[in-house]
Amino acid sequence: MIATALSSLILATLAAGAVLALQHARRWRAGQPAGVDIVAGLKALPGRYLVDVHHVVARKSFNARFHALTAGGFLASLPLLVLAAVPALRGWLLWGLLALALAVMLGGALMVGYRRRVEKPAELSQGRFKRLPYALLAYAAAFLVVALDQLAGGVLPWPLALAFVLAGAWGGAELILGVGRGPLKHALNGALHLVAHPRPARFHDRAGRDTGLRPADLEAPKLGSERPLDFAWNRLLGFDACVQCGRCEVACPAYAADLPLNPKKLIQDLVTAMDTAADGERRTDASYAGHNHPGRPIGLAQGGAALPLVGPGAMIHPDTLWACTTCRACVQECPMMIEHVDAVIDLRRFQTLELGATPAKAAAVLEELRVTDNPGGKPLARRTDWAVDLNLPLLAEKGQCDVLLWLGDGAFDLRVQRSLRALVGLMRRAGIDFAVLGEEELDSGDVARRLGDEATFQDLARRNIATLSRYRFGRIVTADPHALHVIRNEYPSFGGHWTVTHHTAFLLELVESGKLTLKGPTGGSVTYHDPCYLGRYNGEIEAPRRLLDAIGLQRVEMERSGLRSSCCGGGGGAPLTDVAGKRRIPDVRMDHARATGAERVAVACPTCTLMLEGVVGQRPAVAEISELVLEAVA
């Protein structure tokens, strides 16, 4: 009797869960069509879950362990409970296996309870999530008692046994019904998102990294995303996979500086908005039980699946949208592989291309870009003003060269010119056959694209590609990771395929091949700040470090470094949209550098140079890597 009650309750819950999940799936299936290879995705799913997701989760090893125990035990217990519906199968083997699975799960559930009730990391959401440890414990412990009782032949008085069944069934209902609404969204939505992921190349079974933005079709009737329904269905599915673990919140540089952006809340804003089914139905964010966007209280935002997402009274405040530096720290940390930056860019595309609502200085810069091909509105001939005495060879005059030096827009800035002079000096010493494009070099289009101005980006990209295609050169070397990323990862969609090397990798080659000889250890301590567009976007974190070591500087690492480095605040057009917070992002980053006690911060990006140089007060000096190398060459 107890066994029948047990399995029929679980079967009923599973059926209810399936109905709910189907109903919930309607929300993201309402999105735009997307070309997804479902079969390949299904085949890759176990690998993606067990390798890619595990890698992210295992950055906190405790979490990986309790997930393995809890999920493993839970998933093993479900089929056993279903099998228990068949009287012929009820025997010591079934009850024994069930008890084993539940015991394993109980171990995991205790760990979850410890984390959520004792450790209490601040980034975790409350609300439904608060009940999770109780549900896990109820399910595992109560059913364990029932299984052991059945194994012993039913020694408990039946009212007590039934009470245990009911307690366990409550836990089971919390968990199974939570698959659709949370907290257990990763069980189904998470798995489906891995199957239909918009960037399958980012997983270990493909290239392992895929960071270039997708071109927008400028002929489309609507450009960018205005409402939740304008996103592709697999993007909506991605948002709906969020389990509010808050790892993005911890990593977000804007959140750290108290700018009004919390990536977790941003994704939940999208989820809350898509929760409404009917046209025009509104819902507020009052049910959200995590941290807010700093400075923006919860309960004021409202939206719906068919309503505009961005606006002062809408689900997402414009300040939230424009505070993002596109640094990808949230994407790097997300165990559900959600692509936050793609969502931000989709929303920005609508704001810029359809509404003309790019804020602050950004709109003026985009207009200058369109008319002068550089963000400062300067004559292009002045890009090489700083090098009048260096006689930079022009590719137009040479016709061909080994190395094309892409100067970038930093060349218009006095501080960056200093490091470019150092780089040119080093290339001369190493006897490199190089040239520059001079007047023919246009802005790479990076800033325009991150600000959502896909039209200007595509125009710049096409014209740069046409220029580059006219010449013969071995490869492109640049000191600007933004230009590097755009030319390497985003120009190929427009027919431009070139090898692009960052100057740190290039200088390392020159040092290792002996073309540059070093004086020997220069001494002094340095900490290296990884540019987002070199590290997270391109995975290059080794070359700059090996270069610093080769010079003989004593290298210390910041609290956040490498692929998990923290942004300087200069990406994504953030210095132009200039959303105010309590602090400035570069000030926060400089705090990390100060904490190392290093004498200098080594940077490898013109934007990082400017952002960190702008920090006032006592601080380590900011030195571009090529300047440090120039000091060290014999």
């Binding site: 291309l353 359809e354 003309g356 609502a357 003026a364 207009e367 008319v371 002068t372 091909d373």
Partner: protein
């Protein structure tokens, strides 16, 4: 309903020389777009195929009328004829174009042709029944409030609010309506030589002594009416004048 005509020309970026929306005309359109409930008629005289015209559409116009006249011809008669037929309450234009004759005369000539009043250098305006309240920008940041009756031609000052961003999708969707118009050839502009502007060289002035403020003034202030004007000097004369000036300023020695 308030009927507003905005005269839009094509500007020229000072650094790249490429066509763009003229900054002051864009401000005029911005003022028009801010008038609640106004019926806006945007007019350009020139080539309807010019892609930059779409930048004005991107600011939120549904259509833009282009009076098709050949390059280098006088747009005033065509504009006056068109505006007479349209008979708007209010006509807005930037106070000076960018890249043509740049005389700033067009609003005056149009007002004369229409027999309408003109108020120059307007930085802000609001419209009432048959009249408009306008804010004029005067030198040194002063402002003057004015009231004027329709029909009224207004020239817009750089102190007017920044023009809104032009959105790509709206620019693409907007309609450019070409209307045939006749225009006399402009003899004057055809004879002009046009070359890029460059800043006038400043007289160098070496200042020593005095307070910091005096030195700063000496280094930054330009005084007119000093020195000697050479008209079409020979190369020798010019070189001698420069040499003597540098010696006088003690930039080079006399030995």
């Amino acid at each position: 309903m308030l009927k507003v005509a905005v005269l839009l020309s094509i500007g020229r970026h000072p650094a790249s020389g490429r066509p763009r929306r003229a900054p002051l005309d864009a401000r005029a359109l911005e003022l028009a777009l801010r008038l609640p409930g106004a019926e806006i008629h945007a007019v350009h005289a020139g080539d309807p195929a010019e892609p930059v015209l779409r930048d004005y559409l991107g600011m939120g116009l549904d259509r833009l009328t282009v009076l098709e006249i050949p390059a280098g011809s006088d747009p005033v008669p065509a504009l006056v004829a068109h505006l007479k037929a349209l008979s708007p309450d209010l006509i807005l234009a930037g106070r000076c174009a960018e890249g043509g004759e740049d005389s700033g005369m067009l609003p005056y000539l149009v007002a004369q042709g229409l027999g309408a009043a003109l108020l120059p250098d307007v930085a802000d305006l609001s419209a009432g029944e048959g009249t408009a309240t306008l804010t004029q920008a005067l030198p040194r940041g002063r402002r003057r409030q004015a009231e004027a009756r329709f029909p009224l031609v207004v020239s817009v000052h750089p102190a007017a609010p920044e023009p809104r961003q032009s959105a790509f999708a709206r620019a693409r969707r907007g309609l450019v309506e070409a209307v045939a118009a006749s225009a006399p050839q402009d003899g004057f502009i055809g004879e002009c030589e046009i070359r890029p502007w460059r800043p006038r060289p400043k007289r160098l002035r070496l200042a020593a002594g005095g307070s910091a403020l005096e030195r700063l003034k000496a280094a930054t202030e330009t005084k007119s009416g000093q020195g000697q004007v050479l008209v079409r000097p020979t190369a020798d004369e010019a070189a001698r004048a420069i040499y003597e000036y540098l010696v006088e300023q003690r930039v080079i020695g006399t030995s």
